[in-house]
Amino acid sequence: MHLLLAFILAAFLGLELISRVPSQLHTPLMSGTNAISGITLVGAVLAAGTGTGGLSPWLGVAAVAAASLNVVGGYLVTERMLRMFQPTQKAVHKND
């Protein structure tokens, strides 16, 4: 039941957090939240590290690789996008 509670609270939280965001930040925000979804990495590490033999740990290792691709790539791509929004730069980049 606490999983369901967390799920519902997270849904409301997400709605509150991303409302009223200026449109030029939508793309980096999308990319940044996508990187957070790579938190599957934690589950992947646990699945890979709990040695019971069989297929499970190997699926876990593959999941670790896929999730770290998501995490590292996601944060770096977001950083590169956000570098275009330096507050010192007065020029507005219309990239979306």
Partner: protein, 218 residues
């Protein structure tokens, strides 16, 4: 988590680290909503992820060798792709990363499901949902990537009899779910899971080919 050999103290330390990571994610998203604080927000969110990862890795009982290899391979590939991609090619790269996250969810759900000799109905349902949602994310993101990079035509792609096909694939997905719940453990479950993955990936493919344009617009 007791089977992983965590003491009570280590367990609560880890929970606390997860709590801090959650706060970092929430604040990070909040900061990313304003141009002045957006970069700081992304950094905070990344630090939260690092904390969550370290807290998990440091827990005793994990065999670290293969995990570190996976981290290194995935991380290096991600960094390489993210740093060399042209600015105009960013959206399709995000689609690709999103897809790899979906693939990870699918694999984690499969691993958890196959680990148990007799999965509880709760675990079965959660695993199936994980496979379904992860697979949809994976195949859908691949189509979005294909369309954004112009490897696929950006118009709506539909097969003849698409709706019948969709219904058929949805039926297969539901069948897989039911079979996964009632069949005993063992190789049969692997088969069911495999069939389940294949069928719903086709379904996702067919579905997203129709919805591709909307997906591209995020």
């Amino acid at each position: 988590m007791t089977e992983l050999g965590f003491g009570l103290q280590g367990e609560s330390l880890r929970s606390f680290a997860y709590l801090l990571a959650t706060v970092a994610f929430v604040l990070g998203i909040k900061w990313q909503g304003r141009p002045e604080t957006a970069r700081r927000g992304n950094l905070l969110s990344a630090l939260g992820m690092l904390l969550a990862l370290l807290a998990t890795l440091i827990g005793a009982g994990l065999q670290l060798g293969w995990i570190l290899l996976g981290l290194l391979l995935g991380g290096a590939l991600g960094a390489w792709l993210a740093l060399r991609v042209e600015m105009t090619r960013m959206p399709e790269m995000v689609a690709l990363f999103n897809g790899s996250g979906g693939l990870a969810s699918l694999l984690v759900a499969s691993a958890e499901f196959l680990r148990e000799a007799r999965p509880t109905p709760m675990l079965s349902v959660l695993a199936m949902l994980g496979v379904l949602i992860g697979g949809l994310t994976f195949s859908g993101s691949l189509v979005a990537w294909g369309k954004l990079s112009e490897r696929l035509p950006s118009r709506s792609l539909a097969l003849p009899g698409q709706q019948v096909l969709n219904l058929l694939l949805l039926g297969l997905v539901l069948l897989g779910l039911i079979l996964g719940l009632i069949l005993p453990a063992g190789p049969a479950l692997l088969l069911v899971l495999g069939g389940f993955c294949c069928s719903h990936c086709c379904w996702a493919w067919a579905w997203y080919c129709r919805l591709g344009e909307e997906i591209c617009l995020w």
